[in-house]
């Protein structure tokens, strides 16, 4: 099972690298934005890897905590980076999908 975990982690990691690479073709970002997104992805993957190992060793609580703290921190970092550094327009009033929907209804 540990070997399977390492294999799956490799697959997920490769998908992460491909995702960031594809993003690099779509948008031009500052270096610190890339750094922030990369750290976020590594934190998410670290949490997933930790959780996998924890479930294998039978300490499910550790896996849950890892998903909350490591992966959760990574998700929050990526969301904040996306909203404030990649697409800051999303934070303008009336630009969220919900606001657009309300405009349409009016």
């Amino acid at each position: 099972m540990e070997l399977a975990q390492w294999f799956l982690m490799g697959v997920i990691f490769t998908i992460g690298v491909f995702g960031l690479t594809y993003l690099s073709l779509l948008v031009k970002l500052k270096w610190y934005t890339w750094a922030s997104l990369s750290i976020g992805i590594v934190a998410i993957l670290f949490g997933i890897g930790w959780a996998g190992a924890s479930f294998l060793e039978g300490i499910a609580q550790s896996g849950a905590m890892a998903l909350i703290f490591f992966s959760g921190s990574g998700v929050i970092l990526m969301v904040l980076t996306w909203r404030y550094l990649v697409v800051p327009e999303l934070n303008q009033p009336g630009t969220t999908p919900a606001a657009e929907g309300r405009k349409t209804e009016q």
Partner: protein
């Protein structure tokens, strides 16, 4: 393809934080278009660059962790206050005292003082009989007939071999016989000292050692005089021991993670007893191996000398707050055995640090978990770390008779520890189970072990708190015993420590 969908064009756009690019992204997705040839090339180039960078970073992290797990050699061990330090009399150990009515008659104040200070009528010598006579309760997880059976089965090979007392400092038992009549006349000669050290460690691994280190014999750690509790006989190194030892080979045998996690339940003593059995067999085989090569050798469990300082001198770990040896990767979840031999053409190991003793200064989880309150708490003077005991009643004259004074370390009250065993009906192990360094053999624990020496003290406090928060190290939980008896399914926990980068300690 629109200009916005052309990734090359997009890469040539002015460096902005990309509101317009976002719309391009949405367009790309909604149209379901793919990259053209040059776009694919750019994608693959960047993916290779990113993947290569990630691989390099991963390789560097692995190298860093592996390097940290080897530890750093230290020159300041042991720190000794020469004004206080003197060799340890084996009669001044709790387990030898508990097994000798003669010592009870000779030192009655040890019992009367303990009983008076703790306001109880405690008899050290009746302790083991009382302990094993406590009835089981099949409705109480960890204290059932099955748990008692596991415990007794763990000891059985030693009982059959007439060597059960190796755990209680009895020297010259059948498994650790002082008889040297089978030493080969021809002595095997090694080409160099490294070859000799490697050969000894290879043999140790074959016979079941988790780790093996080699130290010079050091009289400071030898019991002097030696004592035979069964026959009430004082023994001397010069007149009774069969040769002059030059080298002490120290080996660790692992205990089961899920079993020790049940502490202080009887279940935990199953793996402790098994650890004593396996370490005794290991020491017996290694002593025979050395005698077969023409050198004198005697195996030892807890007898002959203090195992923890010898293990530290052999580079196997560091001293912990709970008084045990903390070995990197496994913490205190092991048993120690030793070989005394006159073979000295060998590469000796050096004391190392992995930052574990320093971590103990910020942790204290074992002290919190100790049901006997026998381990110095964080709030103790100097955090419980010093040249003299500073636990409860340690200022009472003669009360610390069981401690080896004058060495800088954590001192615990093993009298209270033993007292709890008797009341509990079994040895405890809570300080082992709760230790932050007692982890299963998985990569994330190896990672944490590797970064610990480089992390600041403030982080140590956080890591110590995170350990129970992540579900590790809780003791006194009946569910742990129920869980242990289900762990056979799948045999989850690997006790072979294959992730611990070398089972035969190349320090």
């Amino acid at each position: 393809m629109s200009q916005n969908n052309d990734p090359n064009n997009r890469a040539d756009e002015p460096e902005t934080q990309a509101g317009s690019s976002q719309s391009g992204s949405e367009e790309s997705v909604s149209n379901g278009e793919v990259l053209d040839d040059s776009g694919r090339r750019t994608f693959l180039k960047r993916a290779a660059l990113g993947g290569g960078g990630a691989l390099l970073a991963g390789g560097a992290s692995y190298g860093f962790i592996k390097s940290e797990l080897k530890g750093k050699p230290i020159s300041d061990y042991p720190m000794i206050d020469e004004a206080i330090f003197k060799p340890k009399d084996q009669r001044a150990t709790v387990l030898a005292f508990a097994h000798s009515q003669n010592l009870a008659d000779r030192y009655p104040e040890r019992t009367t003082q303990y009983s008076a200070l703790h306001n109880k009528d405690f008899n050290f010598q009746e302790g083991f009989d009382v302990m094993y006579s406590l009835p089981w309760d099949n409705n109480k997880p960890g204290y059932t007939q099955m748990d008692r059976a596991l415990q007794k089965a763990g000891w059985e090979p030693l009982v059959v071999a007439g060597s059960r007392m190796v755990a209680n400092l009895q020297p010259d038992t059948p498994l650790h016989s002082w008889d040297q009549s089978d030493v080969e006349k021809e002595q095997y000669q090694f080409d160099n000292e490294k070859q000799a050290g490697d050969a000894i460690k290879s043999a140790a691994r074959v016979f079941g050692a988790l780790k093996c280190g080699i130290a010079k014999r050091d009289k400071r750690w030898d019991y002097d005089p030696l004592y035979d509790p069964e026959n009430d006989q004082e023994l001397s190194w010069e007149n009774d021991f069969p040769f002059v030892p030059k080298t002490v080979i120290v080996m660790l045998v692992p205990m089961d993670y899920d079993c020790i996690a049940t502490a202080p339940a009887w279940t935990a003593d199953g793996t402790a007893a098994d650890g004593y059995t396996k370490s005794s067999v290991l020491a017996n085989q290694m002593a025979k191996f050395l005698r077969g090569m023409g050198y004198h050798a005697v195996g030892a469990g807890n007898d002959l000398g203090s195992s923890v300082p010898y293990a530290i001198m052999a580079g196997l770990g560091e001293g912990g707050r709970n008084g045990a040896l903390l070995a990197p990767g496994i913490g205190p979840r092991h048993r120690i055995c030793k070989i005394y031999t006159d073979f000295e053409f060998v590469e000796y190991d050096q004391p190392h640090t992995w930052g574990m003793t320093e971590f103990c200064l910020s942790c204290g989880k074992c002290a919190d978990a100790c049901p006997a309150d026998a381990i110095p708490k964080m709030e103790s003077e100097n955090g419980g770390y010093g040249f003299e005991p500073n636990y409860e009643f340690s200022d009472e004259p003669g009360y610390t008779w069981n401690n080896h004074h004058g060495i800088k370390k954590f001192y615990s009250d093993s009298k209270k520890c033993y007292n709890f065993w008797v009341e509990n009906g079994s040895a405890c192990g809570a300080c082992i189970a709760s230790c932050t360094f007692n982890e299963p053999d998985m990569w994330h624990h190896v990672f944490i072990m590797g970064v610990t020496p480089k992390s600041p003290d403030i982080l140590h406090k956080w890591m110590a708190e995170a350990h129970p928060a992540f579900g590790y190290g809780r003791t006194g939980d009946p569910k742990k015993a129920e869980k242990f008896w289900k762990t056979g399914e799948g045999m989850r926990t690997n006790t072979e420590m294959k992730n611990n980068i070398g089972t035969s300690n190349k320090s």
